[in-house]
Amino acid sequence: MSTPPRDNTDLIAGLFLMATGVFFGWQALGLELGTSLRMGPGYFPLVLSALLVVIGLVVLIKAFGREGEPLGQIAWRGMMFILPAPVFFGLTVRGLGFVPALFVTTLIASQASVRMRPLPALALSVAVTILATLVFSYGLGLPFRRFGPWLPF
């Protein structure tokens, strides 16, 4: 059995654009639309959302009837460790303070590569933390607390 050819990448891209358009459009409907003379806060976004849905639809339709390139490898491990790193920094920079927050952030990020061994990762994080503290906190004088209120000292 042969399935009709379709470009899966564009299929997903089309659906993604349409979904985004619908989401923004739905949100915009909750805003005052106004008239074209005095446009309300919802007018321009609604027009754009509609446009996005149309574009997504055309991308979707054109995805059928031709073969596309495969998606390729996906950096699952990368996503698992790279994306939480800034989130962790944001959550703890005030409570733990700049130094410990940065140390853990670097440590988390370093785990994204399969090639990184535990000991070098630790050494790298220490080095980055010391250098960054010297440059940003002491050198540039950015107003970060080096150790935050969550720590006993």
Binding site: T9, D10, A13, M39, V58, T129
Partner: protein
């Protein structure tokens, strides 16, 4: 003469010890990050942008400009040495530059790129100085309708010059515009698309979006497939070109500069087009076209000059109209706004030191690049041998500090993660991030001018076509859009981009 006294003012500002130092630091940092494989100029600037915020407006923009040139040169270095261009504009350099390196002429290729860039930069700086002031006079006559139409044209051009599907690029522009509208509505104060998070009422942080979509997405892409790179280190020959080689590069450099200067002014990313156009011209004019693709000197000299000239002249629309010509200029606008400068025609008259200081620092930055890079090339090559898994945790740490330092807002860091994911998903779906960023920056401006124009015309939408300048701009964008959808041009455009990919 006006021009001379203005340039003197500019050089006075740019050569102050502090500004020279910032320019130098910018060039070094830019090159340092720019040579990291796979990271192009846009990602480099997005990552380093926050460092400049603590400085005064002039110094910060001078440093940023330095970062830009440095990043671009760093990108060419990686293109030549490991055939890994970070950005499509240096992809053309990689074609012949890498072949030269494989034949043991890496030193010559690097020197050619540096000399070509410096010459093109010098000429283009003068062009900016000559053409920017009269253009601001025109720009001052622009009303809301003209601005709206001009931005539409800029966005359309960015779509036309984007890699891959025109339709998806169009979708990216619209998505960018929508993301730009997140925050408080300027006329009514109503919060829009903030999900009830008050921290987003000032809009999404521009730096967070740029770092996420360009920087983090780039890192994730590089982590997909970790393999060893072949660095052309042992084979770097003498740097200084022979008299013969110098003579051979004069023509390509001159032509490249001309092509780049003209195309760089176009809104929507002329530098990519410029380097490709120059490559095509050199190949056509060459007595030995078969050498191209196998290490032709002209194939490095021409595109590199064109690329750099275009990078320089793309400051013209930014400084005169406040319209970014490419994602890098969009980053510049973001930086200016954070510094409290409203980009546009008023910058020249109200802040002449700023304007001329930047113009002068462009040239100084280019000079520093040549002086610095030729002797430091050994160091950059060493950097290329540092394994990637050591580099990216450092980059992540810098990004986190940088983004947080802008507004001390933890939500900006959550936004970085979100936009990093979005950027990665989009790149997997083969959607170009450049039009998205351009849309994001222009979104609020576009809406504001649209609403103002409609109020001024008492709700009559024909205002956009009855005002001649506005009509001209709209017709031009319509023509561009029609062209890219024409089957013949489309085929040609596909060929262009496939050849650059090769």
């Amino acid at each position: 003469m006006d021009l001379l006294s203005n340039l003197a003012l500019g050089f006075g500002v740019a050569t102050s010890l502090a500004n020279l130092a910032f320019c130098l630091i910018g060039v070094i940092l830019g090159t340092l990050i720019g040579v990291l494989p796979g990271i192009g100029a846009t990602a480099t600037i997005a990552m380093l942008l926050p460092i400049t915020f603590q400085l005064e407006p002039v110094s910060s923009l001078i440093m940023l400009a330095g970062i830009y040139y440095g990043a671009q040169y760093g990108g060419s270095t990686t293109a030549i040495l490991i055939n890994m261009p970070g950005e499509s504009s240096s992809a053309v350099t990689a074609i012949d530059g890498y072949q030269m390196a494989r034949k043991g002429r890496a030193g010559t290729a690097l020197a050619t790129a540096a000399i070509g860039s410096f010459f093109a930069g010098t000429v283009a700086t003068f062009l900016v100085a000559i053409f920017a002031p009269p253009l601001t006079a025109v720009a001052l006559k622009f009303g809301a309708a003209e601005y709206f139409s001009l931005m539409v044209m800029g966005l359309v051009m960015s779509v036309a010059l984007a890699h891959g599907s025109v339709l998806k690029a169009l979708g990216m522009v619209v998505l960018g515009l929508l993301l730009g509208l997140v925050g408080t509505d300027i006329y009514t104060g109503a919060p829009r698309f903030t999900m009830g998070i008050t921290q987003f009422s000032d809009g999404l942080n521009f730096v967070a979006v740029a770092v996420g979509v360009f920087g983090i997405a780039e890192i994730l892409r590089n982590l997909e497939d970790e393999h060893d790179r072949e660095v052309m280190t042992r084979t770097i020959n003498r740097l200084f070109p022979t008299r013969e080689e110098l003579r051979a590069m004069i023509g390509p450099i001159l032509r490249g500069t001309g092509i780049g200067s003209v195309l760089g002014i176009l809104p929507g990313g002329g530098a990519i087009l410029a380097s490709f156009a120059s490559y095509t011209v050199e190949k056509k004019l060459s007595r030995t076209p078969e050498e191209f693709g196998h290490g032709a000197l002209a194939g490095v000299a021409g595109p590199e000059s064109a690329n750099n000239a275009g990078a320089q002249t793309s400051f013209i629309p930014l400084l005169t109209l406040g319209i970014p010509a490419n994602p890098v200029m969009a980053l510049m606008i973001g930086a200016m706004i954070i510094q409290g400068i409203v980009p546009g025609p008023n910058v020249v008259t109200e802040q002449p030191e700023l304007f001329w200081g930047i113009v002068a620092s462009m040239w100084i930055g280019n000079l520093m690049l040549v002086v610095l890079n030729l002797p430091l090339i050994g160091l950059w090559v060493k950097l290329l041998t540092v394994p990637y898994f050591v580099l990216f945790p450092i980059i992540m740490a810098m990004c986190s500090i940088g983004v947080y330092s802008v507004a001390s807002n933890p939500y900006d860091l959550f936004a970085v993660a979100f936009f990093g994911l979005l950027g990665y998903v989009l790149s997997k779906l083969r959607c170009e991030p450049a039009p998205l960023l351009l849309g994001f920056v222009l979104g609020p401006l576009l809406e504001e001018n649209l609403r103002r124009a409609m109020i001024l015309s008492r709700g009559d939408p024909t205002t956009f076509v009855t005002r001649p300048i506005s009509l001209g701009l709209l017709l031009a964008s319509l023509a561009v859009l029609a062209l890219v959808f024409l089957p013949q041009i489309r085929k040609r455009r596909d060929e262009v981009f496939t050849e650059t990919d090769a």
